[in-house]
Each structure stands twice: as C-alpha cells, then as structure tokens.
Amino acid sequence: MIEFQDVTFVHQNGVKALDGVTLKIESGETVALVGENGAGKTTLVKHVTGLLKPASGRVLVDGQDTKATSTARLSRKVGVAFQNPDHQLFSESVEEEMSFALRNFGFPPEVVRNRVAWGLELFGLEEYRKSSPLVLSGGEKKRLTLACILAWDPDVVILDEPTVGQDSLQKERLAGTIKLLKSAEKTVVVVSHDIEFLWPIQPRVVVMKAGKVVGDGPAPRIMQDEALLASARVAQPQLVEFHRSLSSKPLEPFADALEARRWVEGAFRP
C-alpha cells in the first residue's frame, strides 16, 4: 500500500511541485495518473521510491516512511519504468542489462539466469540476448526497460509515459502487459497523457493540477466530469464524448468500440 499524507514538495527554483497531496493506493489497484505537463505527476512518482523526500508530510510504502529508508530498499518493492529508456541503458548486452538490478538486489546467480530468460521470452527479446541494448529500436528499448523491472518481481509497477513514441501495435502489446500485471494482482500506476490508451483499461483515475490532486475516482466517473477535465487540461476519451452526445443512452459509457457497437445494434436496429 502506498500512502501520501499531506505531502508538499518545493523545487530548488521555488516552484511548489506538490501542494498538500493526500492519496492512498491499495495493493492490487490499477491507477492512472493524469494531468498536463508540469502538474506534478513525475514528482509524485519520485516520492514513492524516495528519490525525492517530502518537504512536509509523509509518504508511506507498506507502512514504512520513505524518509527512514533507502531508495534501493524501496525499489525492491516498487519498480519504476521512467519515460526515456536512453536514460538507463548502459550494459554491453541485453542480458547484462536485465541482470543489473537483479545483482544489485542480491539474487543468487541461478535465479538471475532464470528471471532473465523469463523476461526475454515474455517481451519477445530473445533474439537480442547478446546484442547491445543501444542497437534496439525505440519500441524494443521501451520493452527492455519494462522487462528489466518486472524481472525482480516488484509488488508495485509504475510506468511513466509508457506510450510515448510507440505505434499502435506496440501500444496494444503494452496494454496486454498491464492486463497481465493486473491479473497477477500487482499494483500498477500508469502516468500518461494518452487518454485513449488508458480508457479501455478502466483504471482508477487520479487527476493532478498544479501540484494538487483535483480528482480521484473510477474512470467512468472522472472521464464524464467535463468541468474537471477542462480545468486540468485533460482530454476526454472519444467514446465518452460519443456517449455524452447520445440523447438516450446506457448508464455507463462504453469501455471500447465493440461494446458501443453492441449497444447501438440493440438501440438503433430498426
């Protein structure tokens, strides 16, 4: 469980990046963190693993105050995949890259071997086992960074803008991975602008604006709250907009195009 208790954080330049954030994420939840650039999403994420410490308030991970422990310890529980893979790939081979964290966390060699093999298979990277991570394409690099994190089996997985620069096939695969994590009862936090990507996942949505949490609830409720979305400069999913525009409609907006089609078939078929 992750808990933010009235957390405030001020950057060196005096900008208040977090302003009294109180937020509780239970284990097994899938949460989307949305808001415009500069709203404080990444700053919030960095507090979970103690990369940043609150100026006031507390951040608790499984009951432990992040101020009282180290990033290395917290990372064992919480895996964060940052936006830019080029900010972390450094090893001679893909295999080595995946082993890095596992060795840091002190896993025995045979476990390292097994986990690496598992990750390479899951993400379709086996053919690159011996290649340099730098020769991979953008999409492959992104998958590799995710594999690196899942390899140590953290309880919480945080993805920072996972869809940036990804084409639709890669996004589909990513959505599949998130479903897989969900079914494995992992806590998943996705920081993303990509509302169309988030909507079919139907996560709990936390909306941030100027360092504050301004909205928090299930996706259908938040995504139908137009005043909230407009003030936080968050786009509305197209299917929600479609639902809104219908004069007679079902209670809940459609989660995907197929669901919408089924309803239209029933309602409009002469």
């Binding site: 290395a72 990372s75 972390q88 140590w152």
Partner: protein
C-alpha cells in the same frame, strides 16, 4: 567548487549596470583586476575592494557578491597560512590573501551581470571564429539540460538498486559507470540531433553571417568607459607616485 560556479552564473537583472554595453562591463572588470595587482598595501587594496562593493551596489548584486566574498575568504585563509609559513611576513601574506578575494570579485562582477548572449557579442568583437563562438554558446546553453539528464539517469539507476554511495573509493568510481555511459550516449545522440537542426537552418551557409542584434555603445556607455579609465589612471598614478599608505 560549487560555490565558485554560484559566483559566476548570470542571473537576469535590470540595473543600470546590467544594461551597460557588455564590452564596457568587461573593461571595468579588467581595470579593477589590474588595479588589484598594482596595489602595494592592504589599505590600498581595501579602497579598491570598497570600489568593487560600490559597483556591486549599483548592479544590485550586493548580496550575491557578499556571499562570493565570504566563501572566497575561507579559501584565501589557506593562502594566508601557506604564505605566512613560507615568507613569515604578516602583511604581505595578508595582502596576497585579500588580493585573491578581490580578483575573484572583479571577475565575478562581469560574469554575473553579463548574459551568455552578451558574452557571445563580446567574443564576436574579438573576431573569434564563428565556430568557436558557436561552440561556446551551445556549451553554455546545454549545461542546464545536461544537468537535468544527469539527475534523470541517476534516478533511473537508483531505481534499479544502484547505490552510488556504497563501498570504498574504487567501488564508488565503478558505481558511476551506469550513470556515465548513458550520459555520454545521450550527449552523442543530442549532438547528432543538434547537427541536423543546425544543418537544416543553414549553419555555415555564408562566410559572414549577419546578426539580429547589434550592441552599439551609447553615449552613456562611452561616458562610463571614459570615467572608468580616468579612475584607473588616478588610482595607478597615486599607487605609484604617492607615498604608500602603510598598514597601521
């Protein structure tokens, strides 16, 4: 050495001094610098420093200059002790120590009131080749960007269990590898992208590129320059021909 960089980083200001032609600011700093070398006694040096403080006040950077002076003073204490140990001369050791402070302040006054943009203009007046000037400009322009890169890389690697502060000296140096490699790779990628953008915007197309802004010394700039030279002349003359005021 962080304190030193703090004493030399430009921050936007709107004082009369900031608005001076950058070449005049360079002239004033250079003259103050030379004067500190001409003085023969601590008393004279204190007069020069008082003058610098006055300039800092006009430039509304008193607090920053004060901080630089305080920080430099701690360093010059070491100079004082070393000097004293070798020369066993209290006054000359003291003079050396304070002179160091004065030198730092005179240079710092130029850098903290001159924008990188103006620096570029100064370099151009010295007819440095465009490539050299441009290399300087991009280097300064990308310092904050690279610092941000470094933080992001360190965060990413710490999130993978890297403990930078763990182990002995050798281990710590080795711990930096996962940070340094992505930093180098990113810089290479960045320079590639920069080169493409430069090429696309015709960098180097004509041997003598034009410039949007031109710094033309105004009447005030020229007056200040003349006054600076005059004050320097008086100071240099009195330090040579007037009896040195001795340290009491």
């Amino acid at each position: 050495m962080m304190w030193l960089s703090g004493g030399f980083v430009f921050r936007r200001g709107d004082s009369v001094y900031h608005r001076l032609d950058p070449r005049v600011k360079l002239l004033i700093s250079a003259l103050m610098f030379v004067t500190t070398l001409l003085v023969r006694s601590v008393y004279e040096l204190l007069i020069v420093i008082a003058f610098m403080v006055a300039v800092a006040a006009v430039a509304t950077v008193l607090r920053r200059v004060g901080r630089t002076m305080a920080l430099t003073a701690s360093f010059s204490a070491i100079i004082f002790l070393i000097n004293l140990a070798f020369t066993r001369n209290l006054e000359s050791s003291f003079l050396y120590a304070i002179r160091f402070v004065a030198i730092v302040v005179s240079t710092s006054l130029f850098f903290i009131t001159t924008s990188p943009d103006e620096l570029e203009q100064v370099m151009k007046t010295f007819r440095l080749p465009r490539d050299v000037v441009f290399a300087f400009v991009t280097a300064v322009r990308f310092i904050p960007v690279m610092m941000l890169d470094t933080i992001q890389i360190m965060d990413a690697q710490k999130s993978r269990g890297l403990e930078l502060e763990k182990g002995n000296v050798f281990r710590r140096v080795r711990n930096m590898i996962p940070v340094l490699i992505p930093l180098v790779v990113n810089s290479v990628v960045r320079s590639g992208e920069l080169a493409e953008a430069m090429e696309s915007r015709a960098y180097g197309a004509v041997p003598r590129p034009t410039s949007l802004v031109q710094y033309r010394a105004s009447f005030r700039d020229r007056a200040v320059a003349v006054a600076a030279v005059a004050i320097f002349a008086v100071a240099a003359y009195s330090f040579y021909y007037v009896l040195p005021v001795q340290f009491p």
